[in-house]
Amino acid sequence: MEILSELFNMTALGDITYQTLIMWAISFVLLYLGIKKGYEPLLLIPIAFGVLLANFPGGQMGVVNPELIELEGHRYMNLFEIAHDYGIMNYLYYSLIKTGLLPPVIFMGVGVLTDFGPMLRNLKLALFGAAAQIGIFSILLGAIAVGFTPKEAASLGIIGGADGPTAIYTTIKLAPHLLGPIAIAAYSYMALVPVIIPLVAKLFISKKEFTINMKQMEKQYPAKYEIKNIKAAKIIFPIALGTLSAVLVPSSVPLLGMLLFGNLIKEVGSSTSRLADAAQGPIMNTATIFLGLTVGATMTAEVFLSEKTLGIVVGGFVAFAISIAGGIFAVKLVNLFSKKKINPLIGATGLSAVPMASRVANELALKYDKKNHILQYCMASNISGVIGSAVAAGVLISFLM
């Protein structure tokens, strides 16, 4: 009997609580969505498995409260001590996430995958990427009104930027205790872009507006000048924009600077293609694995099962919807004063979620007119949305830190 009792104590069976089971269920649902439904599988699957690892009692894989690693006099335990006392997941979290390292590294890879060409060809459409950031700041106000602290509210609002690494970076800086739920909400809603954009667009865009044909408008009101050397422009652009944004919003440099660097090494061409391949391949993939697992590991039952998580889930959705609506109404406003009409779907893609938002908007436009291909125009506002959300994050961080 004593042997059986010792055997039982050796297992984790005695430590499993109903909260543990709820967290396992959440993890299984996320795994189902990632594997079966294909919702952002590259990030949702590592996050979901990180949740599972963190909630195996006795596994020492859950990220611990930062107060536990804090020493007297604003000093912290070193990484060896963290690994020794709290396990390897905490080592990874405090070295890669808490330092803010991984989101800019991922942004570098995103930069390689980004093509500023559509934006340079349709520069005016870039302004809709600014209008679509309204969701971030509206939810900031709303969240403060319902009891979130300004730092928590800013981290919640940034979900409206529809940019995973930006949301994670901002939350690490402002409200690291909410990292798990915010990352889950951000990536879940990004995966639901094919549902959310049509939902909001059909609410606010008329049938006539859906059929505004951008190519016809282009023929009627051609651009004042054409781009004779797009390659040179695409090489100069990231250097110039990086310098400008660093001077005007220095706190956006870790994200924007790395994005623009990644873009530059792609645009330079064959001489830096090895760097570009590394940035968008092995480096980005490795960063994504560790980001997903460690963010998931922050979601222990005691952190996740709270009222604030519910607030984040609801608030994140509203932020997303307001951002889409903000872009749509900005286009409508421009259309009031301009002869050259713009399809409001282009405004709807002003939030990040590149390129899925553009693809969804294009498909929606094609439903109303089979010849109305608006993908390249959507990409212009979509890419500017990435810049816009990184700038918004920079503003929030510099004001609230």
Binding site: L123, A130, L140, Y225, I236, S384, V395, L396
Partner: protein, 84 residues
């Protein structure tokens, strides 16, 4: 709450200002490159015989596609429209 409102106004103004600057900067870069650069393709002399027949944007797309698929080793020497 008034602080949050102030942050909202500051944030949105900054985002708009930066993206207006992006538009201005983009226009300046395009004007400069239009003025000082001569070639549409990055390999001078390439595809010269058919440049007048093909849309420069299409030509740039073909050159980019060849560069990406051949990892910079391939060169576009001639782009010809075949009339069947």
């Amino acid at each position: 709450m008034s602080e949050a409102l102030k942050l909202m106004l500051t944030g949105m103004s900054t985002v708009f200002f930066i993206l207006i600057m992006v538009v201005v900067l983009g226009n300046i870069i395009i004007r400069i490159t239009n003025r000082f650069s001569v070639a549409v393709v990055d390999h001078p002399g390439a595809a010269a015989p058919s440049q007048q027949e093909i849309n420069p944007l299409k030509l740039a797309a073909i050159v980019s596609a060849v560069e990406i698929t051949t990892k910079g080793k391939g060169r576009v020497t001639l782009v010809e429209k075949i009339n069947e």
